[in-house]
Amino acid sequence: MSALLEVRDLHKRFGDVTVLDGVDLDVEAREVVAIIGSSGSGKTTFLRCINLLEEFDAGEVRIDGEAIGYRMRGDRRVREPERVIARQRAMTGMAFQHFNLFPHLTAARNVMLGLTKVRGMHKAEARAEAEKWLARVGLADRCDSYPSQLSGGQQQRVAIARAIAMNPKLMLFDEVTSALDPELVAEVLATIKDLADEGMTMLIVTHEMRFARDVADRIVFMNEGRVAEQGPPAELLANPKTQRLQEFLQGTAL
């Protein structure tokens, strides 16, 4: 049985700068993997490649056995057409650092948009589904609020509800607490922890080391566009093998 997410030798360049320099990573179903690393190590770009928000130059990403983003035509590698990409993107859900809620739609309508347009639900059905997921992230009473009427933590929880309502196979979290006031971080992390406890497969890019240790089954340390070291949280954080990780951990308060 192969892993839910398989990444092989992923390469990505922006002009002359190599951002991802051969990333290999497997994530099993129901596994929670935290990615840590200093800024510029390629963590965010890595997530964006998995969600096909960035094109990548070489390597392969498979979700549930399906190679995504590209196919081989003869010996040429070609990008899949827009419709295929859109369908493959819906296999993963993503929460962003800056929430990226749609400001012209209420919380419920933010969640409903994908349900009606991508999953083809009727409005009433989608509304019920949206209410269900907003209740799950603790916002049952804010369904009809606009993003501007919500706190940062509430906005981020709506964004998480919007992503998981699509029933993705894999959830990607990209520094979801970095833009939040310290007192609002806890509510978002609690929401993610609940989802993890229920068996959602997750890839979490984070600077919250304590959270990574508590929630993740495995921590992956990225450095200079590669996976430099990985292992169970307790082991990896207590006995870092590479010097780079030792330095990184020294600079981070646990």
Binding site: R48, H104, K117, Q149, A159
Partner: protein, 216 residues
Amino acid sequence: MEILQEVWSVRLDLLQGLWLTVLISLSAIMLGTLLGTAVGIVLTYGSWLMRLPARIYADFVRGTPVLVLILAAFYILAVVGIDLTAVQAGIFALTLFCGSHVGEIVRGALQAIPRGQTDAAKSIGLTFGQTFVHVLLPQAIRQILPTWITAATEIVKASTLLSVIGVSELLLTTQEIISRNFMNLEFYLVAGIIYFFIDFGIERIGKAVDRRMRVG
């Protein structure tokens, strides 16, 4: 109150002129908005090959006096065998003028939308078309509305220039009336007041729409 009697006696002429002004302005604004939206989309998302003609059109037309556009539409198109009536040529010229401005307004509004909006829309599986219709356009429209209203009032004012190619819109009608009764001051004032109320009306409607959309 000689002036009121005089205005009353030519009310049908004035209404006729007003009607033509409104018809021409409305047509040019609607067609120009459609054209401008397409141009704005191309300028924002098109490949450079598509952007180039759109950019040339927008810059060229915005850099040309409206009066020149109107004369060109009326005289040059006739030379190349496209026979338009004066009204049609006028609407054509004003549409080009409106489209170039709306194109820039739409481009600016679309480019001002944070990239994260597109990312979020894509990440839930929306195609580009769906993203544009449901996420980008509604946000762009709110941005556009105030400047678009200004552009619309500009079109109404520019429609007076059609008098030079013999379109009996409100201004030319007024001039014709004056040539009969010699009441220069009074009737230019009347025309001015009518133009003011047309533009004032457009602005009020725009403000009302703007208020309704500005929720959240």
